[in-house]
Every structure is written in C-alpha cells, then in structure tokens.
C-alpha cells in the first residue's frame, strides 16, 4: 500500500499553497485520505513535473477504488465470509434482526453486505471513519481472514 512519504516525494515540494493547503506534506496526507484530487495541485500539471505526475498516478491507481472513508476492497481476496458484515458496529446498530445476529442484512442502512460471493460497501457515509467526527474504527479489517479490506 502506498504511504504518505511516497506521495510526498512525488509532489513538487514547493509549499505554494495553490491546492489550498499549507504544505505539500499536508497535500500528500489529504490525497491519501481522499480529500483532495491529484489535479488540485496545479503546478504538478506543468510539463516539467510530467515524470512525477505519471508516477503519482501510478502509485495512486491501486487506491482509486477507495471510498470516501479510505476503504478499499480487494474482491479477488474476499471469501465472502461475512465476518466484516457481522462485526461492523454500524451494521449491528442499524440491523439488529439481520447482520447483528449473523444473518444476511435485513436493513438497507448497513454499510457492508455480501453480494455474489464478495463484500460490497453500500453506505460509506454511515461509516465511523467518515466526516469530521470520525473515529479510527477498524473492526471490519481486523476480522478479515484474508486482508481483503483495508484502509488507506
């Protein structure tokens, strides 16, 4: 998985604030947290940074599918076991008669569900890692036997 340092190395390191953040390091953090886009760094689009831009797009490609909370699902690794579905505290709270007791979700307010043998993320905004009051919940990733879900 790509690290903040790796992304930082690929920024222009000008601290020009054109992206709206005080430093390129802050931009790297925001990029990884899905709060900024690569294109928000306008100097990077200049021809002299062509190499860096290309590399940055490459290292960011694997996390392109991440949700607003940074959740990435590697479908090829998922067993569809549903551990994450049943362990997610939001699923438990919103779906007491379904995923809380081990059954398939009965409410549409759950975050994680298993469809066609692999897990899907439905309501990322419900996740405890979303928004300004986010907390570092990791029950879904900690219960996964195959590391099929991760946070970036």
């Amino acid at each position: 998985m790509v690290s903040v340092m790796e992304i930082y190395q690929l920024t222009p390191k000008l601290n020009c604030k054109k992206c709206g953040l005080p430093t390129c390091m802050a931009f790297a953090v925001a990029l990884l947290a899905r709060e900024k886009q690569i294109e928000d760094c306008t100097p990077l689009l200049e021809p002299k940074y062509e190499e860096k831009l290309k590399k940055l797009r490459e290292v960011m490609a694997p996390v392109a599918g991440a949700t607003e909370t940074g959740l990435i699902i590697h479908e090829d690794r998922c067993y569809g076991c549903g551990n994450c579905v049943v362990a997610c505290p939001v699923n438990v709270a919103n779906d007491p008669k379904g995923s809380a007791i081990g059954l398939g979700p009965k409410s549409d307010k759950v975050i994680l569900v298993v469809e066609d043998g692999v897990v899907k993320c439905l309501n990322p905004k419900e996740c405890r890692r979303f928004g300004p009051n986010r907390i570092l919940c990791n029950l879904c990733t900690a219960t996964c036997p195959s590391k099929a879900i991760e946070f970036v």
Binding site: Y79, G82, A87, L103, V118, A142
Partner: protein, 406 residues
C-alpha cells in the same frame, strides 16, 4: 430465501434473483456457495453408456441392468445428496445385497459416531450463537472450509446471552498445525502444534485440569488457556479433519478431555462436517442398522472396516457412485483400484469419476434445481425447495427408477 448446499452449514438466508436459467444476483452466499450456484451452467455432465452419449432413460436402464447382474456392488458417496435420495440408496443397497459406505469413513465418521451414540455431548449451532461463550476450533480452518461459520453462528454474531458478541462476550481458541486464515483472526489465541501433536496437547490439558504442571514449552499460555476454558458458561469444541486424522483410533482422548471439562462446566462437541449432508446419511443408516457407515447387506446386516470404501474396493465387482468424486479425492492408490471396477456415476457435473465411468447419469443440483432435506453439521434438519425448473432428474428420482427396474 434459498438454502445453500455448498457446505454443511446449509445457510438458509440466501437471496437469489434468477433470469431464466441464469443466476442474476445473489446475496449472502459466501464465495464457496456462490461457486456452487454458478456451477449451474458450467461443466454439466451428459448421459453416457460406454463412452457414447445416450438418452437419460437408457443410461438409467443400463445402470439397473448392471446392478441386477452384480454379485457384490459397492454403493458409495451420499454425502452430497438429500436425505430422500439417501433413503432410496439404502433401500437399493438392501435389495442388491450391496456394501454401502459414505465419505465419513475416511473423514469425521468416528466423531459423528460418538455423537450419535451419545458418547459425546452436543448442541445445535443456534445454541452456540446464543450461549456459546468459549470456543475451540481444533484442526480446522473454518474461514476456508465453512466460510460463514464464524460470522453466522460461532464467534462474531450477537446471541441471546451474548449481546456483545466477540468483542467482549466470546473467547475463541484455535489449535492447528499451521497459520491458517482463521489463525490470523484469532492470533492471540492461536496454539500451534506439530503434526500429530494433538494427543500430547490433550494430555497437557488434562494435567493442568488435574492441577499438575504440563509438559509443554509454553506452560504459562497453557495454564491461562485452561483457566479461561474452566470459566465458560457453555463451551463448544469444533473438531476438524486435522484432529480426526491425528487422533484416529485414539478418540477416547477427546472423550476424556470433554468429560473432564464437563466436571466443572458444560462443554459440547460439533464436528466440522464438510459435505452438506454427510451427517444425514450417518443418521439415516444408524437408524436403520445401528451403524453410521461401512455396512454390508450381504447376509443380513454386517459392519466393519472391511466394508469401508478403501477395503470394499478389493472385493466388489461394481461401484455406484452418487454425488462425490472419489477419483479426485481418494488417495491415488485407492483411486486407481476404483478405476478398475466398472462404475455407474450420478453427478450434476463432469468430474474425473464421471470421465472414467461406464454409465453416467446427470442429475439436478440439489438446493437449486431439486428440493429435499438434509441434516446440518449439528444434526438440525433443513428443508429446501428448488428455485428453478430443471431438465435433469434428482438423485432421488433416478434411484427410484433404478429400484423399480431391478
């Protein structure tokens, strides 16, 4: 809601939408179960006699003829067919004075036998979910073999008495020889042993229960595990194939451990049966004969190791294989011996066994194209209806026709 017959959990909360004969979308099926549903349209077998494609009725008639002429047929498989088909199979064994055996004789048979005879206490998976606060997975990797075991019943879900689920109310241990995917989830409570080390571990556990110092490397971890085990309100041991193979012939050690634990608190055993209805076959045959497998109907009812598939192959002159692929799953030497016997195979799919069979009869996929019932790994009966029409007959229908024609 559909039922998945992908493993012996028989998950009954499956949602499926179909588009003609195609599975359009499924919910709650694990990858393994999804694979079974998807197999609906891949690699289906075709009726064949001596390598030539024929009509299905012709294949059935030929099978009946061969069974009628055989002196010592072996009827093998059964773990992946419904209770209704298994009942017909046992009837057919009686009528043809055959040897009948299922996959349990090379699998978890010994443990299932002890449970059916009441020598090991057991409970249902629903009890586990509601009350099982201390669990031991032993010689198994549920994440791979029964993907929804831990999420539906054993470790993660909230239960009546266990409202905080795995976070606070449940403890689970894993005893195994390798760092499996399950070991990764239960990292802190994973006890790694060397192959064949299960009996020694049981002795060490018994020693701690007797207040002695165990002869193991990590004495502290062992003592702390036993302290947790003793505090259980309801404990459950889930033995897998690893334990069954390692303790073969010494199952009394498992019995000793369970009864010793039961002096302090309540412990139950549920074997991690693999095929979806192995438990059902064992129960049916037991109800009829007093034995769960390895039965010969030659002269009345006889039972013994010489009637296990492995031994019976040496004396039988015909094999009827239902719902299993012994050529791929048995050890090479035995598979070779089997391949020398004329085989009749009932299977929805093409397998190595159908490839080598004299007669192949394609059948409907149970749970998807055919209904029926089966016993889950804990002995609870689960019924299912077909979710679509099929051009293939069910195992039960084929066996009934064979019975009529003999």
């Amino acid at each position: 809601m559909a039922v998945c017959t992908g493993c012996s959990l028989l998950c009954d909360d499956i949602e499926v939408s179909i588009d003609g004969r195609r599975i359009a979308k499924t919910k709650n099926l694990c990858r393994k179960g999804f694979g079974r549903y998807r197999s609906l349209t891949s690699d289906r077998s075709v009726p064949r006699v001596d390598g030539k494609q024929v009509g299905i009725d012709e294949a059935i008639s030929r099978a009946a003829e061969m069974l009628r002429d055989a002196k010592r047929p072996l009827l093998f498989g059964w773990s992946c067919s419904t209770l209704e088909a298994q009942r017909k199979g046992i009837e057919l064994a009686r009528k043809t004075r055959a040897i009948i055996d299922d996959t349990s004789s090379i699998c978890q048979g010994e443990i299932v036998d002890m449970i059916i005879r009441g020598e090991l206490p057991t409970c249902t998976l629903d009890d586990v979910r509601n009350y099982g606060d201390t669990l031991i997975f032993w010689g198994c990797d549920p994440s791979s073999s029964h993907p929804r075991h831990m999420s539906r019943f054993s470790y993660f879900p909230r239960g009546e008495k266990l409202q905080r689920g795995h976070e606070e109310d449940r403890t689970a241990f894993l005893i195994d020889i390798r760092t499996s995917p399950t070991a990764k989830i239960l990292a802190g409570n994973f006890i790694q042993i060397s192959p064949g080390g299960d009996a020694d571990l049981i002795e060490a556990m018994l020693a701690v229960l007797d207040g002695k110092i165990p002869k193991v490397r990590d004495k502290k971890a062992m003592i702390s595990m036993i302290t947790t085990l003793k505090k259980a309100d309801m404990g459950v041991i889930f033995p897998g194939l690893g334990l069954a193979y390692s303790l073969k012939g010494r199952m009394d050690r498992l019995k000793a451990l369970v009864s010793r634990l039961n002096e302090t608190t309540r412990y139950n055993v549920i074997p991690m049966v693999g095929h979806y209805n192995m438990r059902g076959f064992n129960q049916l045959l037991f109800d009829e004969t007093g034995f769960i497998n390895r039965v010969s109907f030659g002269d009345g009812v006889d039972h013994g190791p010489m009637y296990s598939v492995v031994e019976a192959l040496k004396s039988c002159d015909l094999a009827l294989v239902v719902g299993t692929d012994p050529i791929s799953s048995l050890p090479a030497g035995i598979a070779k011996a089997l391949a020398r016997v004329p085989m009749i195979t009932l299977d929805p799919h093409r397998t190595l066994t159908t490839e080598l069979s004299r007669v192949v009869i394609p059948t409907a996929l149970s749970g998807i194209e055919a209904g029926g019932s089966a016993l889950r790994m804990d002995g609870v009966r689960i019924e299912f209806d077909p979710i679509m029409k099929s051009e293939y007959p069910s195992d039960e229908e084929v066996l009934s026709k064979i019975l009529e024609e003999i």
